[in-house]
């Protein structure tokens, strides 16, 4: 606009203004009408829809699917199209361009034209911008993760929906050859977190399988999940899986079951889908399930990658075993054959095996289905064991992942550097040999050994690295990775993991520190007495926790339910997930131990000391001259309720801090939310609410269930009587 145009505009505007209306009342009237409409709309929305309030923020709950407010949805959606290093376009470039265009609009469009048709560029750009924003918002809402019920009983689909769908939508396209396990476990870019701390290796593999073959997942849910858990099958050998599907009812474990013939009911395509779902390409796992039975933990290999791929995919004659019948007696051969088929039935064969076979076969007893077969193989030797033609079993992705893993594993890591780092960073809490010890972050809790075979076998390298890098906040372990502000680089962490791995082939210390004996070697009964009895009572009679010997409890819960509870724990109670600490075998021992408890009719609630029982003072002590029992009955004092508090509250509150039940003074005043008791006013006392389950915050106390009527009344009476 030049000066002339400016003047022309001002004059024209002045003229229109003169012809116009006064702001008050004409314009004000219009404004008021619109404002009223808006106010009514707001008032109605506030009245009928209200403002939502979800559960209290829980930083530990990584299953929560975050959603931004609706007016940020378009940005959220936009970011999905710029993954990885492109993210900067969505985060910085596009918003900056958008805002700059807006801000400098008057400088960019300086013509004197004002009608929108005379400004096609601005009008067009605005239109496109608005369509883009509305379109992205609609897309974001439509791609919103379906509620978990939509998974229709498909547990893995539900896992996917909970963890992945909020960013990735209903499905993910993956380039062939991607090691999905690593991507999920390590995270990929800002915004895709590392999942290894939150998901088990099995879950990650199940997810990888789901992403590669969603159809397989629904087939699994429909056909297999009634008997098999996904964790069980992803860990099994592809050969077995293929056999189970292909051979129908002749497949040994399926014999005699009311099962359809999978080889007929499932089409070949479906079988492939199912197999792809069940055997996700994770090199380390593939090696463990397919190769380690014969090869142990490592295959020494230093050749070319192509050669290795060829060897694995084509299989071949693997070992030449001598014909042992020339050396062994008939009895020895028989003994060995029986030992090989089932070591338990012929322990005497162990020595023979170790002397003669272990040099080649290692610790492992090669399996043979029958004694005859084993006898034949031992006696005649030869190329008895052929490496399978893996090319027929594994998908190209799996083969690739397997080869990469073997080559990587062979590059080796400097365990010495790892050992030094371990000693300076980890040994303080975990002990020099990973044997564990008292947990400095949580009183009365121990750090279980991390050098045990069980621990190392159940966690892959990525998981271990992630635990070191990100810590385990719930267990009091800080983050050690650079990325999280810790002292260790990725390289450092890898060498620590390599050092820890070296324990697996070469288990540390036989002279176990005592803590190891306490935690690792314990058997069912012992674990129960050491750990569970604290809350559930020495013979399962219950105190803080529910009574396990109770008939009702025993009837209501099957073994699986008890196992699950021990393994997964209950949220927000001191029943933590013991599955992280105990091995499955130990949990099974516990289940068995709980099952053999002599049943009791009612939970044997602990009684306050005899004679102080509010209702019925025992006759023996009711000598009026000595003890004024009627007084105790009408107004209980602290001594009356002390045994209850001691038994039912102190096990946790004594050790965990917070509220203190040791004296009447402390009962009234201590605790984070105190005062817990308002003397004389039971109804408004926090203690009463907690005991009756009417509290607004936290859970009922004790967490195992209400106190008995008698105990409750006594405590309430005590409060009403002034809490003396």
């Amino acid at each position: 606009m030049d000066e002339k145009e400016k003047q022309a505009y001002l004059e024209k505007y002045h003229h229109e203004k003169e012809k116009g209306v006064p702001f008050f009342p004409d314009i004000i009237f219009k404004d008021t009408v619109v404002i009223l409409v808006i106010f009514v709309a707001l008032a109605a929305l506030a009245y009928f829809a209200g403002a939502p309030l979800e559960e209290r923020a829980n930083p530990a709950d990584t299953n929560y699917t975050p959603r931004p407010e609706w007016y940020f949805l378009f940005l959220f959606q936009l970011l999905k199209y710029f993954p990885g290093y492109l993210e900067v376009i969505g985060v910085v470039v596009l918003p900056t361009i958008g805002i700059s265009l807006l801000f400098f609009l008057p400088l960019l469009d300086r013509s004197s034209k004002r009608h929108f048709i005379n400004r096609p560029i601005v009008t067009g750009a605005t239109l496109i911008g608005m369509i883009a924003i509305i379109g992205l918002t609609v897309l974001s809402i439509r791609e919103a993760p379906p509620p978990a019920e939509a998974a229709g009983g498909d547990a893995v689909a539900a896992l996917y929906i909970r963890n992945c769908a909020s960013c990735h939508g209903a499905s993910i396209q993956v380039a062939t050859g991607t090691n999905l396990h690593n991507v999920i476990a390590e995270g990929k870019h800002e915004g895709m977190p590392s999942w290894s701390a939150d998901l088990t290796s099995d879950q990650i593999d199940a997810l990888a399988g789901f992403i590669l073959s969603p159809g397989g997942s629904s087939l699994f849910a429909a056909n297999c999940s009634a008997c098999h858990s996904i964790e069980e099958l992803v860990a099994s050998s592809p050969v077995k899986l293929k056999e189970a599907l292909g051979s129908g009812l002749t497949y040994e474990p399926h014999k005699g079951l009311q099962l359809p013939d999978w080889s007929k009911t499932l089409t070949p395509e479906q079988q492939t889908q199912l197999l792809n779902f069940l055997a996700a390409p994770d090199g380390q796992r593939l090696f463990a399930t397919n190769c380690s039975a014969c090869h142990g933990r490592y295959v020494a290999y230093s050749g070319e990658k192509e050669q290795l791929t060829k060897t694995i995919s084509q299989g071949g004659v693997h070992l030449d075993m001598p014909a042992w019948k020339q050396k062994f007696s008939e009895a020895e051969l028989q003994q060995l054959a029986r030992y090989v088929v089932d070591p338990a039935t012929a322990p005497e064969g162990k020595k023979l095996f170790q002397d003669q076979c272990a040099a080649c076969h290692g610790e492992r007893v090669p399996t043979a289905a029958t004694v005859d077969e084993a006898y034949d193989q031992i006696a005649n030797g030869g190329a008895h064991q052929t490496m399978p033609v893996w090319g027929q079993v594994l998908t190209p992705e799996q083969l690739d992942a397997l080869v990469n893993y073997i080559i990587q594993a062979n590059q080796g890591e400097d365990t010495e550097a790892g050992q030094k780092l371990f000693e300076s960073n980890c040994a303080g809490c975990h002990g020099q040999f990973g044997e564990g010890g008292p947990n400095p972050a949580r009183p009365n809790s121990v750090i279980t050994p991390i050098s045990s075979e069980e621990f190392l076998k159940t966690r892959d390298d990525i998981t271990l690295a992630a635990i070191i890098a990100l810590g385990q906040p719930d267990l009091g372990m800080g983050a050690f990775g650079n990325a999280a502000g810790g002292p260790l680089s990725d390289e450092d962490i890898n060498s620590i993991v390599a050092y820890m791995r070296s324990w697996e082939t070469n288990p540390p210390v036989v002279t176990a520190p005592e803590i190891e004996i306490q935690t690792l070697v314990m058997q069912g009964g012992e674990i129960y007495q050491q750990i569970c009895a604290q809350c559930h009572g020495v013979s399962g009679e219950g105190n803080v926790g529910p009574a396990l010997s109770d008939k009702d409890f025993q009837a209501k819960n099957n073994d699986q339910a008890i196992y699950d509870t021990i393994s997964k724990g209950h949220n927000n109670t001191s029943m933590i997930a013991w599955g992280d600490i105990l091995t499955p075998a130990q949990i099974n021992q516990l289940v068995a131990f709980i099952r053999q408890m002599p049943p009791t009719e009612k939970p044997a609630t602990p009684k306050p000391a005899e004679g102080q029982d509010a209702g019925n003072p025992p006759a023996a002590e009711a000598t009026p001259t000595v003890t004024p029992t009627p007084k105790a009955a009408s107004a209980p004092v602290f001594a009356d309720i002390e045994p209850i508090l001691k038994k039912r509250c102190a096990p946790c509150h004594g050790a965990m801090g917070g509220w203190d039940a040791s004296t009447s003074e402390k009962v009234i005043n201590s605790g984070d939310h105190g005062p817990a008791v308002i003397p004389g006013d039971a109804e408004n006392s926090l203690l009463e609410k907690k005991l009756l389950g009417t509290q607004t915050d936290g859970t009922i106390m004790p967490p195992g269930g209400k106190l008995s009527e008698k105990e409750l009344n006594l405590i309430l009476e005590w409060i009403k009587a002034g809490a003396k």
Partner: protein
Amino acid sequence: MMARLTTWLDERTGFQQVWQAIFLRKIPKVNWFYTLGSATLFVAMNQMITGILLTLYYVPTPDHAYDSVQYITFQLPAGWYIRGLHHWGASAMVVLVVLHMLRVILYGAYKFPREVTWATGVILLLVTIGFGFTGYLLPWDQKAYWATTVGTRIAGAVPFVGDWILRILRGGNDLSAVTLARFFGVHVWVLPSVLLLLMGIHLFLVIRNGISAVPTRKD
């Protein structure tokens, strides 16, 4: 009597001049779309009033934030309603600001002599978005916590300075009490100050330059 009082007051305040300048000024003939600015102003005032009422009971610490919002929602008389108005007012604010801006673009009202009015308006849009982002965390429920975790993490993806921005937003590496205090402070002190200042300038300029006329096909 009334006339004498008016004169007395006017001699001392000059209010009549102000009244004339604001309320009796002439306005070109305009249509209903021109009410969007006033509507935005109204919702902004709604947010201030309900917001001030909410701060009387809200406690910006992770220990008590959720409890205080629960108290406001379930126990305080009409607390749920005030919260509802504030919640829906926030959405209405965003909608109205955007519609108001579209009207200005459509009618070419950002042009001479109203360029500065436009610029303050764009900043006001950003302030509104800032209100939405900071206010979302305050209830300290799951949605608040995780949406802010993700939102601040996205800011961390900015090259070179991302980490620094993330730490400034969160007041550390993780979402914590500091983050909540920070978001509360910005939501309740910083942004309202900026909003009032810019709104003052914006309105002053609107009155000084007059509301733009509806352009004709020839304009």
